[in-house]
């Protein structure tokens, strides 16, 4: 009897020890999440990749009585990031494996406090690239300021602007300028407004009628100011009237319908389709083609370029639109930034070639360095 009792106690101790060892084998660790704002902790455990079980992560603040649910995950995930914590508090975590089933609970972790970090280390790659671009752009701007001769190749679409305005003036018909359909926070819209200023100066000089229908109210406000200023600088403020630059609607196809109506009724001699466009690009350019208007288009929207190329006389592809301000104004500061941008593209090309060689040779580190953002 005594032997059986001892045997029972030994077996019980072994079972408890096995259970405790099983809990310890969950491998629960809690650490401060790196490169964050001091409000999160990362909980890790030994996760079997093919485990179908769920795990509930529970946390407790140092002076709290009870655990509360921090979140749910799968055992296979192996990691859980707890966000929205207080940075001056300390937290302890425990895991409940299979909470709806057998519900095994791990031993609690030691208390850990989240720490605010100074810098997001995983974004060093972005910082290096931004600094490189900044150095190149600012460097060439400074070179331009010192009088360096910076060459930009001929952009056919921009050269054709004078021809288009001249044609409209001779025919006595208006010029239709469509600055894209999106708001002024889009760089393509800003680039288009830069060209609009130049076109408006020409129309003011030659007395050609200009109409600028807009799909965005903020773009309309900026375009109106630009055209007004251009007419003032050209010495023809009396020719400007506010309805030259007007708002139609933000709705893509209603806007396209309205602009097509203007084209078919008023038959402008020249259409400028410059900026950000979506599916209405083909509707606009085909209608313009049907009324035999000279059409100059430009967009960085990759998906719309084929339509413009098919239907327009001149098309500016991507960066040519952004280079327009520099090209038209010949402002050395802007020319300098275009040059810097080109040099950055050359640097990217070098990085791509080096990356391909390294990846082919099995050196993954160079490629991986670019990955995390």
């Amino acid at each position: 009897m005594r032997v059986r009792g001892w045997l029972f106690l030994v077996l019980l101790a072994v079972a408890v020890g096995a259970a405790g060892g099983q809990e310890a084998r969950m491998g629960l660790t809690v650490e401060d999440t790196p490169s964050d704002d001091g409000r999160s902790l990362t909980v890790r455990w030994d996760g079997e990749a093919d485990s179908p079980l769920d795990v509930r992560i529970e946390r407790r603040m140092r002076d709290a009585a009870e655990y509360e649910i921090a979140g749910n995950a799968r055992v296979a995930d192996g990691e859980f990031r707890d966000l929205g914590l207080e940075s001056d508090a300390a937290y302890s975590y425990r895991l409940v494996i299979d909470p709806e089933g057998a519900a095994r609970t791990s031993a609690p972790s030691p208390y850990v406090s989240p720490q605010e970090n100074f810098f997001r280390l995983f974004r060093v790659n972005a910082l290096v690239v931004i600094l490189l671009m900044g150095v190149l752009v600012v460097g060439y701007i400074m070179a331009a300021r010192r009088g360096a001769d910076l060459y930009i190749r001929r952009i056919a679409g921009l050269d054709a602007i004078d021809e288009a305005v001249g044609r409209a003036t001779e025919m006595g018909r208006k010029i239709l300028y469509v600055p894209g359909i999106i708001s002024i926070n889009e760089p393509q819209t800003l680039a288009s407004l830069g060209i609009l200023g130049y076109v408006a100066k020409l129309t003011a000089k030659y007395g050609t009628q200009l109409e600028v229908p807009n799909a965005d109210p903020l773009t309309m406000a900026a375009a109106r100011e630009i055209v007004k200023q251009s007419y003032l600088e050209a010495g023809a403020p009396e020719q400007f009237h506010e309805n030259m630059v007007h708002y139609i609607t933000q709705d893509q196809f209603a806007y396209a319908g309205a602009v097509n109506g203007i084209m078919v009724r008023d038959k402008p001699a020249a259409n400028f389709l410059l900026g950000w466009f979506a599916a209405e690009s083909l509707l606009l350019s085909e209608t313009g083609q049907s009324i035999n208007a000279i059409q100059i288009a430009g967009t960085a929207q990759v998906t719309q370029l084929p339509f413009f190329v098919a239907a327009c006389d001149y098309t500016m592809l991507g960066e040519e639109l952004f280079a327009a301000s520099a090209y038209l104004s010949k402002d050395p500061l802007i020319l300098g930034s275009i040059k810097g941008q080109d040099m950055m593209k050359a640097a990217i090309l070098v990085m791509v070639v080096v990356g391909v060689i390294m990846a082919t040779a099995g050196v993954q580190g160079f490629v991986d360095w670019f990955t995390a953002l």
């Binding site: 979140g71 990031r81 966000l83 933000q250 893509q252 599916a279 990759v302 998906t303």
Partner: protein, 285 residues
């Protein structure tokens, strides 16, 4: 050859008429062509199929009525797939012109066909302006962008939203997008928050998303009506009891096939006339 020159300058209305007939005839007399599934669509389906009951995804209705014929079938197929697997769907919209109404309509369809319940199986959080700003804020806390759902119910009172605070609590985000919104989801949300992103786009935008799929920034892409028909096919193969519920895109592929052939015919015809006129011009010199 003068006739070749005349044919080269054929009135565009004749082209329009033949395209119209090419679209009308398969609608009146369906052909029933079989859809082949492409890897980018299969990747999205497999990712959803690997999820378990109770998981949640974000479905962003970033399109309007004009893109409805291409993207509505995708929405229907995804909602039915999720409903079958017990996956919860958070519906939002970041597209101002009709996005929230497209969401309303698709979820009403789901409720009618499969009995999905608002607030339990799916929730429509409505529309929010701001685009990328809204996407960034959702990475911190959904309530910062959507304090209530589209019916005005506070988010804290919605059963589905319990335990869902930000992207970290979701398995993936699917954006049914027109224009640039799909790219924002990939470049901003996937890049900065690490959540898996898939895009359903119009056919004209689909080519650009291949670069992101190859770079593993997007799980997959459903391009236009073809992509929608492929997803419908996958759902029907996996769940035969859903067969016949949503085949809009599959039926539409008959029309697309014939219209493509009409366009190819005109391209070949135009080039033959072009070559003949060029030859005449050279002989004339």
């Amino acid at each position: 050859m003068k006739w070749a020159q005349k044919l080269l300058l054929v009135d565009r209305r004749i082209i329009f008429l033949l395209v119209f007939l090419g679209a009308l005839i398969p609608i009146l007399s369906p052909i029933g062509l079989i859809v082949q599934v492409s890897p980018p669509v299969r990747a999205i389906f497999d990712r959803v199929e690997r999820m378990q009951a109770g998981d949640a995804i974000l479905l962003s209705f970033d399109y309007g009525p004009s893109d409805g014929p291409e993207l509505d079938p995708m929405a229907n197929a995804i909602l039915r797939h999720c409903n079958k697997k017990g996956i919860k769907v958070l519906g939002i919209s970041l597209f101002p012109l009709g996005g929230v109404d497209m969401a309303f309509a698709r979820m009403a369809d789901l409720t009618r066909d499969l009995g999905g319940q608002n607030g339990i199986d799916w929730v429509n959080l409505g529309y929010k302006d701001g685009g990328q700003a809204a996407m960034k804020l959702m990475g911190e806390d959904f309530t910062a962008v959507f304090p209530t759902d589209a019916d005005g119910v506070p988010i804290e009172e919605i059963p589905l939203m319990q335990g869902i605070r930000n992207y970290g609590d979701l398995e993936m985000a699917i954006s049914l997008a027109t224009s640039v919104l799909g790219e924002w989801w990939i470049n901003l949300v996937n890049a900065q928050f690490g959540i898996d992103v898939a895009v359903g786009s119009t056919a004209v935008s689909a080519p650009k998303y291949y670069a992101y799929v190859e770079a593993k920034q997007a799980i997959g892409v459903m391009g236009g009506m073809k992509g929608a028909s492929e997803y419908e096919e996958l759902v029907e193969r996996a769940y035969p009891d859903l067969a016949g519920l949503s085949r809009t895109a599959t039926v539409g592929m008959d029309v697309q096939s014939i219209v493509h052939l009409v366009i190819i015919f005109f391209i070949i015809f135009g080039n033959i006339m072009y070559v003949l006129t060029q030859r005449t011009r050279r002989e004339g010199i």
